[in-house]
Amino acid sequence: MSLLNIFDIAGSGVSAQSQRLNVVASNLANADTVAGPDGSAYKARQVVFQTALAAGGDARGASAGVRVSTISEDTSPGRRVHDPRHPGADTDGYVTYSNVNPVEEMVNMISASRSYQNNVEVMNTARSLLLKTLQIGQA
């Protein structure tokens, strides 16, 4: 039944977008983290989406969900601030903060929440269509 597959597809979209929101939340929470004793501060993370063909679906890939293939780390160097009195300062007096860009993260968050809403609406529409399909021949 093709309409039931919509729940799988939209569900995969919702879960992928919520994982993206999770990563954004983690990045924002660590925006001001300083380097630990090992000298490396928190690195911003990004989810990478990939098309996931529905299991058992038609071979030509007419129905395609989405999944998070990897979570990649931003390898750019962290922000360095000269603050010799900071307990986390290195021998030169620099403190290394995480490389999170709060502006990018906020934009990412808005985009993720819009996509989440779109997928939820797809599910609601499919649900009401299915309920009406069940009532064929009644009334």
Binding site: Q50, S63, A64, N119, L129
Partner: protein, 131 residues
């Protein structure tokens, strides 16, 4: 008489199946709105319905449909032409997909109403002798 009524059932059930397939396809496009490199797809509903109900010539049916194991011909998927280029080469146009999704949902419902109407007509025809 009954044959003519069930013929119309056949037609509407094919239309309903295709509407369901299109709804699923658009749901897939919406789910992949942020996937890098994803190409949005859709199919020509009129052509798919003509092929499925045998309204088209046999040559056209072979050229435009692929037979699935279930015996039903599956519509040919076409790739959307992006109206704006995207840096990650994703061609999902969210406005178009949302509009197509809403449009398809309404047409799915209207097909359901046609089927319900046919059912009611047939039931009325059966009842008229009793009254």
């Amino acid at each position: 008489m009954i044959a003519r009524l069930t013929e119309s059932f056949d037609f509407h059930s094919q239309a309903l199946t295709l509407r369901g397939q299109r709804q699923r396809l658009i749901a897939g496009n919406i789910a992949n709105a942020d996937t890098p490199g994803f190409q949005a797809r859709d199919f020509d509903f009129a052509l798919a319905l003509r092929t499925a109900t045998g309204g088209a010539g046999p040559g056209l049916a072979i050229a435009s449909g692929v037979m699935t194991p279930g015996g039903r011909s599956a519509p040919v998927l076409r790739y959307a032409v992006p109206s704006q280029t995207n840096l990650d080469s994703n061609t999902v146009d969210m406005d178009r997909e949302r509009a197509a999704f809403a449009d398809n949902a309404v047409k799915y419902e209207s097909t359901l109403r046609f089927i319900n109407g046919s059912v009611r007509t047939m039931l009325d025809a059966m009842k008229s002798h009793q009254g």
